[in-house]
């Protein structure tokens, strides 16, 4: 078994870190689903307001997406523009 260099260790840890960052996706998934559920419920009660309901739902869901995108950005940085190897 070959030796593990410092660089290899950083890159390996970056792979694990990228995976862990994606767990943030749990939040928006639950939240947007809640919004979708409430949207469907509201359309059932007031179908004439469907357009407004969907607009509000999508706007809220877009705000909700942010933390998931933060997780994605950190994972992408770790993978494609890893600043840590440069500090070695």
């Amino acid at each position: 078994m070959e030796a593990i260099t410092g660089k290899a260790l950083i890159l390996a840890c970056s792979a694990v870190g990228a995976g862990l960052a994606m767990i943030a996706g749990i939040g928006p998934g639950i939240g947007q689903g809640f919004a979708a559920g409430k949207g469907a419920e509201a359309v059932g009660k007031q179908p004439e307001a469907q357009g407004d309901i969907i607009k509000t739902m999508l706007l809220g869901a877009a705000v909700d997406e942010t933390t998931g995108i933060y997780g994605l950005v950190v994972a992408l940085i770790l993978l494609f523009a890893n600043p840590l190897v440069g500090m070695l």
């Binding site: 078994m1 070959e2 030796a3 593990i4 260099t5 660089k7 290899a8 260790l9 890159l11 390996a12 840890c13 970056s14 792979a15 694990v16 870190g17 990228a18 995976g19 862990l20 960052a21 994606m22 767990i23 943030a24 996706g25 749990i26 939040g27 928006p28 998934g29 639950i30 939240g31 947007q32 689903g33 809640f34 919004a35 979708a36 559920g37 409430k38 949207g39 469907a40 419920e41 359309v43 059932g44 009660k45 179908p47 469907q50 309901i53 969907i54 739902m57 999508l58 869901a61 997406e65 998931g68 995108i69 997780g71 994605l72 994972a75 992408l76 993978l79 494609f80 890893n82 190897v85």
Partner: protein, 436 residues
């Protein structure tokens, strides 16, 4: 100087075989007891609902107390199963006498503990059903028979995943195929098998979702029968169909666990053992994503029962919405299954020429990324539930309700897709390898 993986292995192998297995058994016993969270939460909910019901209908205190105690008794099951497993590991440890490599057997002991964690789900789910049944018998003691029947039926289905986990734990303890596969093998093979055993145990944790979800459906059926006893047969039918859907991801996990135990695809593969072992562990970790769909689909089933009880004539339309919504909520666990199967049968990391530690870590990272699927699974299930409820109230609006549900569910899928993309990048287009 030997690298830390070699040093760690040498350190592990410097102990007596018995010491290593007993140490891992102690960790396994502790992990198994985490299941106690479930009955703790569930029975507390049941107690609260019974107290609330007694406040509202003091004349029915006995009936509702009795219902609560029966339900709480069922909710205790997985806590007791875990206690038994922990006691076996401590007082009658069968694993020290297994033939095979100590590292493989130690991994199996930790796998036992991880598998039993799934009991959290049945504890919460059955407790919810007990609470709803206690509440329903409080306001409708004359319907106690039907209410109890729904509660017990839902609880029995909710226990399934806890029993799956018990079976896996018993196999590891008394007829361990992982230990058998390590007999006469190298220490490297034992590491692959030990990590696969931990993956197999982690994989079973997905059953937690079905336990919670199916128990919720049982509770909603008990409530519906209390409010409208004429809905009994339709409520039970919808509850069972919805619960069967909610079991899917737990069955996916059981299949992956059994593959890792009995048909381990990493045995005999010519590649670095740490890459193979971490791939086995990662396959199990990826499947944990399935706990989301289990919870969400169970919620959908419960709300479909509630929707139908308002309007018995709408039951077919409600069922269509429920199944459609549940099918979409299944997506994340299918993503997880795909990644697990890639790791096991078409592992792209095996042939890559790079530092083994990066490749092994990439496998683990891919597994962790798939846990993101928990969120979309729960959220899409919530949407499916609310849409089923709305369809029950206004069946004529089924089309508009479905459109809104599907649109919202598509948005809720995004973070699960991000997780899948990162996992696939780590596996198939790993940019870290080029940086070395």
């Amino acid at each position: 100087m030997a690298n830390f993986v070699e040093q760690f292995m040498t350190w592990l192998l410097s102990f007596d075989k018995e010491a290593l297995i007993l140490g891992a058994s102690a960790i396994g016993a502790g992990l198994a007891m985490i299941a106690g969270i479930g009955p703790g939460v569930g029975q507390g909910y049941a107690a609260g609902k019974a107290a609330e019901s007694t406040g509202a209908h003091p004349e029915n205190q006995k009936t509702s107390l009795m219902t609560m105690l029966v339900g709480a008794g069922v909710a205790e099951t997985t806590g007791i199963l875990s206690l038994v497993v922990a006691l076996i590991l401590m007082f009658g440890n069968p694993m020290v006498n297994q033939e095979g490599n100590a590292i493989a057997i130690a991994g199996s002991a930790i796998g036992v503990g991880l598998a039993m964690v799934a009991g959290v789900g049945a504890g919460i789910g059955c407790g919810y059903a007990a609470g709803k049944a206690a509440e329903a018998t409080g306001f409708a003691p004359e319907n106690q028979r039907g209410i109890m029947m729904c509660m017990l039926l839902g609880s029995a289905v909710a226990q399934t995943t806890g029993i799956f986990s018990l079976v896996i734990a018993l196999i590891f303890m008394f007829a361990n195929p992982i230990a058998a596969a390590s007999v006469g093998g190298t220490p490297e093979l034992a590491v692959v098998l030990g990590l696969s055993a931990m993956g197999a145990g982690a994989c079973m944790i997905a059953g937690l979702g079905s336990g919670v979800g199916v128990g919720y459906a049982g509770g909603k059926a008990a409530e519906a029968v209390g409010i409208n006893p004429e809905s009994t047969s339709k409520s039970i039918m919808l509850m069972l169909v919805g619960s069967a859907m909610a079991q899917t991801s737990a069955i996916f996990s059981l299949v992956v666990t059994l593959i890792l135990m009995y048909a381990n695809p990493f045995i005999g593969v010519d590649a670095n053992f740490l890459i193979l072992g971490c791939s086995g562990l990662a396959a199990g970790i990826a499947m944990i994503g399935g706990l989301g769909p289990g919870i969400g689909q169970g919620y959908a089933a419960g709300k479909a029962v509630e929707g139908t009880s308002f309007n018995l004539n709408a039951s077919n339309k409600v069922m269509v919405v429920m199944i459609l919504g549940q099918a979409i909520a299944q997506t994340s666990s299918i993503f997880s299954l795909v990644v697990a199967l890639i790791l096991m049968y078409a592992n792209p990391l095996v042939g890559v020429d790079s530092s083994f530690i990066i490749l092994a870590a990439s496998a683990l990272g891919a597994g962790f990324a798939m846990i993101a699927g928990v969120g979309p699974g729960i959220g899409q299930g919530f949407a499916a539930g609310k849409a089923s409820e709305a369809t029950g109230m206004r069946p004529k609006l089924q089309g508009a309700v479905i459109r809104t549900m599907v649109l919202g569910q598509a948005v809720a899928q995004t973070t699960g897709i991000y997780g899948l993309v990162i996992a696939l990048v780590l596996l198939f287009a790993n940019p870290l390898i080029g940086l070395l």
